[in-house]
């Protein structure tokens, strides 16, 4: 039986839990699970302190107010909290970077990995905003709604990911 103190649950149990979250999302918020549009809400709200004119950009303005946008910001904050509690309950906290990186890329400094993480994060969310969704919005939620655009976006995501991961890293 999966317990709250287990290190890992079967991916099937974990996936079902996430799928069930669609029920409150649709019933209370009238929307599906997603995470990447909250990056616009947060960054545009912060950028406003430096550049107040960002609120004039329609795309930014559409993301800066309203219950749905801030619900998603709270959702991603909750993910941090949930993963923190889960990893501490199972006694599996992490630090630094995953040992995976040394195996996939060979020796490198933490600074190199941090720069790579920043760059990867930039590309990842830029792509997600161009496609209007990420692994959760297009993947988990889009396919569950049978949206053709989501089938296309997820195929492109995995296709490019399969090519890039085999080109960049050694197999671990």
């Amino acid at each position: 039986m999966p317990s709250l103190t287990s290190r890992s649950w079967s991916p099937y149990v974990a996936g079902v839990v996430i799928g069930l979250l669609q029920i409150p999302a649709f019933l209370f918020m009238g929307t599906a699970l997603g995470t990447s549009s909250s990056y616009v809400t947060i960054s545009a709200s912060l950028a406003q302190f430096v550049d107040p004119s960002i609120a004039q950009i329609k795309y930014a303005a559409n993301h800066m107010s309203g219950a749905k946008n801030w619900w998603q910001v709270a959702l991603i904050g909750g993910i941090v909290l949930g993963a923190f509690i889960s990893s501490r309950m199972s006694g599996t906290p992490r630090w630094g970077a995953s040992p995976f990186w040394a195996r996939a890329m060979g020796a490198h400094t933490p600074a190199q990995r941090y720069l790579m993480a920043f760059t990867g994060g930039f590309i990842m969310v830029l792509g997600a905003r161009i496609a209007d969704g990420c692994t959760s919005g297009h993947g988990v939620s889009g396919i569950a709604q049978l949206a053709i655009g989501s089938f296309v976006a997820v195929t492109a995501m995995f296709g490019a990911g399969i090519i890039a991961s085999n080109l960049i890293y050694r197999r671990v």
């Binding site: 890992s8 649950w9 974990a14 996936g15 996430i18 799928g19 069930l20 979250l21 669609q22 649709f26 019933l27 929307t31 995470t35 616009v40 960054s43 545009a44 950009i57 795309y59 709270a74 904050g77 909750g78 941090v80 909290l81 949930g82 993963a83 889960s86 990893s87 199972s90 906290p93 992490r94 040992p99 995976f100 933490p110 720069l115 790579m116 993480a117 920043f118 994060g121 930039f122 590309i123 990842m124 969310v125 830029l126 792509g127 905003r129 161009i130 209007d132 959760s136 396919i143 709604q145 049978l146 949206a147 053709i148 655009g149 995501m157 296709g159 490019a160 990911g161 399969i162 671990v172």
Partner: protein, 205 residues
């Protein structure tokens, strides 16, 4: 619903979401990247389980009139180009826009850089969208197009049929590759023979 109530609900749902991402081990770069290399399939199994559950849940919610779907518009150029850029970003970062937050929660420091990079990526898109990106984003636009509409069948029928097909794929995948082997003894997606922890950074005292 007020913004405050929505945010309370968001935090509650997020905690459950984060718990599931951590227990499912997709908070590990090794699990994400090895999935992309198609060598181990823990992420795909979890992803498809969430999709199958979503399909069944929505078949009932829509079938009995409790909810209305909100599918994203079909924009072929944006979906293909954006999806491909997203896939490359996931491989370089070792995370998705949602799972990076679970990485932060578990304590990975590099994930903070991934998240901040993501905020700048969102900002770059926001500034570029009205001028540079509009022509790409609107090319091949077909509005809200869904598989059930194309087939001319009710949503619940197609949703449950697809769920059955995907469940069949998972049964086969689990048979050829058990999940316990895929997440590895340390739960970091690294196989047993290479799972020794190397001092990438000193553990917190």
């Amino acid at each position: 619903m007020t913004v405050f109530t929505a945010m309370l609900l968001g935090v509650a749902m997020g905690v459950i979401f984060g718990f599931a991402l951590e227990k499912g081990r997709v908070c590990e770069a090794g699990v994400i990247v090895c999935q992309m290399q198609m060598s181990r399939h823990a992420m795909l199994k979890m992803f498809l389980s969430a999709v199958i559950t979503g399909l069944v849940v929505l078949a009932f919610l829509v079938g009995f009139g409790f909810a209305k779907l909100s599918p994203k518009a079909t924009l072929f150029a944006a979906d293909i180009i954006g999806g491909a850029i997203l896939g490359i970003g996931i491989v370089v970062a070792g995370a998705c826009p949602g799972t990076v937050l679970a990485q932060i929660g578990t304590g990975y420091k590099d994930a903070i850089f991934t998240f901040v990079g993501g905020l700048f990526g969102a900002l770059a898109f926001t500034y570029a969208e009205p001028t540079l990106l509009k022509p790409i984003l609107t090319a091949g636009s077909y509005g809200k197009m869904t598989l059930d509409q194309l087939l001319g069948l009710p949503f619940p029928v197609v949703a449950l049929a697809l769920a059955a097909v995907l469940a069949g794929i998972l049964v086969w995948l689990e048979k050829i590759s058990p999940w316990q082997d895929e997440v590895g003894p340390q739960g970091d997606g690294l196989p047993a023979e290479t799972a020794r922890r190397e001092p990438v950074a000193a553990p917190a005292a």
